[in-house]
């Protein structure tokens, strides 16, 4: 537009002054104002708005962490079915009693049949002092969490809460509970909040991820090598490239359906282990760790391929040419020169993909991860549950107490992810120094 109004462009004007006159005439009817004040004001307002939008992300992240920590700790009203002070033997509280005294407590307070079952299950001589003490707490004292309060309420309104507890649950004792503790990490699942732990879930997650890495990493890197180093620019390689980009955008739950139809159902004999005669008879239905690992491997494959391709592409061509110049074959060049140089990038991309796989829930729910399982997974053909599924299950329960252990499990998951990402950074630094 500005060019059209340029005086030189007008052949009608002999000296180039007339258009300028015309324009000044125009500005007489419409006086030019630069509105500087209001424009600057709106510029400031705009900048503020942009800044606020950016900060919203930080605020949400803070709220998220606050919310989780708030639920994972706090006061709880715990009601004992039997008051521990009535279990005093020889004027010693149960905390300080010897094993024999504790066994005596059990014998006195349990029904004979129950006591006998415990005894035949594992004789008390073989049980440690701690085990017997836990039995007394679980079977005789039977503490039950009546109500819980989040951390910040517990700190700020402690007096009101204590008064409320005294009124509503007269016999209850007040405890400051940390829902996440050593016991929570090493105990298996339970249907009772006080006794539930994430041991099986952590083991399940680790098994699944180990299998996922074992499958997806080599395949993904090989595919990336093919696409970057070998593939000519023909329709096959173009198809593969487009396809990988599109697969990256497929919702994860669709991979779950693929896993359900192919790994769980069609390849049942393979994934349940009957093909190798290894099946656990209780689990021979294909809903195993192997199916989960295969499904997640397909899910993260596009991410690994895309990241690895970028890392391989970043290796300078001079390196390859020097290698070829010394008479190396293509594969020797790739194996000895391209891959080591690209490794930091490949590893970083892989670890990012794995952190995605660890947090993935939907596909595993679809392929049928068990929701309640209290036996440790023993191999690729066992039933399993994972941390995110555990969190989902506990969150979906209507009882409020389960939200507390869900928050505790979330902390475990986030710490796991953090550790993984820290490893990624360390690995990258270490290898990039060497190359």
């Amino acid at each position: 537009m500005a060019r059209n109004q340029h005086p030189v462009g007008r052949s009608s004007s002999p000296d180039g002054r007339r258009p300028a006159l015309e324009r000044s005439e125009g500005s007489l009817t419409e006086p030019f104002t630069n509105n500087l004040l209001s424009r600057h004001r709106s510029a400031r307002v705009g900048q503020m708005l942009f800044l606020v939008s950016t900060i919203v992300g930080i605020v949400v992240l803070t709220a998220l962490l606050f919310n989780i920590v708030n639920s994972a700790f706090g006061l709880a009203a715990v009601q004992d079915k039997v008051d521990p002070t009535t279990l005093v033997r020889d004027a010693v509280l149960i905390e300080h009693q010897t094993k024999e005294q504790l066994v005596q407590v059990l014998e006195d307070n349990l029904k004979p049949a129950v006591f006998q079952t415990l005894k035949t299950g594992k004789p008390f001589e073989q049980r440690s002092h701690k085990e017997v003490y836990d039995l007394v707490v679980d079977r005789v004292v039977q503490p039950e969490v009546k109500q819980t309060w989040p951390l910040f309420d517990s700190l700020l309104h402690r007096q009101q809460i204590l008064a409320g507890i005294a009124q509503e649950y007269p016999g209850a004792r007040v405890q400051f509970l940390s829902w996440i503790d050593a016991r929570f990490l090493v105990t298996p699942q339970s249907s009772q909040v006080e006794r539930a732990g994430v041991r099986t879930a952590i083991l399940g997650s680790l098994w699944t991820i180990a299998l996922t890495i074992a499958i997806a990493f080599p395949v993904g890197v090989c595919a990336a090598i093919y696409l970057e180093e070998y593939a000519r620019d023909n329709w096959v390689s173009r198809l593969i490239r487009t396809n990988i980009n599109n697969l990256g955008g497929v919702p994860s739950i669709i991979y779950g359906m693929l896993g359900l139809a192919i790994f769980v159902r069609a390849l049942q004999s393979l994934t349940s282990g009957t093909l190798f005669g290894l099946a656990d008879p209780t689990t021979a239905n294909g809903r195993t760790i192997l199916s989960a690992g295969l499904t997640l491997a397909l899910l993260i494959l596009p991410v690994i391929i895309i990241n690895s391709r970028e890392a391989i592409r970043a290796v300078p061509g001079s390196l390859r040419e020097a290698s070829f110049g010394l008479g190396a074959t293509k594969w020797q060049t790739v194996w000895a020169h391209v891959l080591p140089s690209a490794l930091p990038g490949i590893l970083t991309g892989t670890i990012l993909a794995i952190s995605r796989a660890i947090g993935e829930t939907a596909p595993l729910v679809v392929i049928g991860a068990s929701t309640f399982i209290n036996k440790d997974p023993s191999g690729p053909f066992s039933k399993f549950t994972t941390l995110p599924i555990q969190i989902y299950q506990w969150t979906a329960r209507p009882q409020a107490e389960f939200r507390n252990i869900a928050a505790a499990a979330i902390i475990v998951l986030l710490v796991l992810l953090l550790a993984l990402n820290a490893t990624a950074i360390l690995l990258r630094n270490r290898y990039s120094r060497r190359v």
């Binding site: 510029a43 705009g46 900048q47 942009f50 800044l51 939008s53 950016t54 919203v56 992300g57 930080i58 992240l61 998220l64 919310n67 989780i68 639920s71 993904g220 090989c222 595919a223 090598i225 093919y226 070998y230 198809l239 593969i240 396809n243 990988i244 980009n245 599109n246 697969l247 497929v250 919702p251 739950i253 669709i254 991979y255 359906m257 693929l258 159902r265 596009p302 391929i305 040419e321 070829f324 110049g325 008479g327 074959t329 293509k330 594969w331 952190s355 829930t361 939907a362 729910v365 679809v366 049928g368 995110p388 969190i391 989902y392 969150t395 979906a396 979330i410 998951l413 986030l414 992810l417």
Partner: protein, 399 residues
Amino acid sequence: MQDETALESRAGSMAAMPVAAEAPIDLRKRPRIREAAIQGFLFLCGVLSILTTLGIVFELGRESLGFFARQVWEDSNKALTVALAPHATELSLSRGGSGIQAGDLVRVENEVVLVEAATGQLATVVRGRQGTQAVTHPANTALFLGRGVSLIEFFTGTRWSPQIGQFGILPLVTATLVTSLIAMLVALPLGLSAAIYLSEYASEPARKILKPILEVLSGVPTVVYGYFALTFMTPLLRGIFGANTVQIYNMASAGLVIGILILPLVSSMSEDALSAVPRSLREAAYAMGATKLEVAVKVVVPAALSGIAAAFILAMSRAVGETMIVAIAAGQGPNFTFNPFRSAETMTGHMVRISGGDLSYDSIDYNSIFAIGLLLFLITLLLNIISQRIVRRFREVYD
């Protein structure tokens, strides 16, 4: 590539030279079995991704076909008035109930018969269809009318309950639409503004702090966001709008949290597009006396519009496919409503809930989640392709 092969073969023959000094040098490329095998293996790894796509399309398609080909038996509220002998072709029907017409499939106990003609209370039928045996049926046996799932019903019905023969997917689609729209209403303005701030305003140190924080948001597992939606966002909404308006499970809270989930995607893709706009454009605008806001909004954003649009559409596809947040916070049970404060189940939420229990193969539920999955797959694929097209087609190329 050709140069490399030539180099390679020359290097190979040079190594062989001293041995066969007298013989003429063979310059042809020597076959290397190991190299070829490795290349073949690498190619297979590349092809695996195509197999994955084919697997998805094939399995979703096959099970969905099973869904649409499924015969559903509905009680016609009619019964036989006279007992039916194995070779009789005349059915005498009781009054009332749904009308039976020529061409209908009718189930009598375990036998399926095809109606050839029907007049009032008399129907002429072909016995023993669909591999069933023609046997005697006593009087007063109930008749069931067979019906397939039609595409029209699938896309226009407003009730989804496959167990009792209601196959309208609309309630699931509207719920997905509502949550995704709310998510986009959050993510678009916030994501674009954050991108503008990071690319146009922020100093280098500020960028170094703000960007990783936004990226952390995208690294949080979605199940954690689901927990956040249910235990933080929902009580917040109920506090603001009143517990009577906002149900415990509602689409608004799920949608808002999905918006937060896709915010980093929008902001980082938009920021890439904004920083690709050449500096000269900005400087020209400043030279004209434009303020920083005018440069950002009137010059840089329009120049990067294709990249921003692509980011929006990709984010939309993510929002449609998001599962755990809606499964936890949006509610269980399909509900045909546009009110964001009501509970309603989205397509993904329904798939998770149905497959969460022990699902028996060949049940109507098993087939139905594949039909939903196919629709979801097609929607997201379409959005992804549009996004890629926009980037390729409308990208402004600057020198």
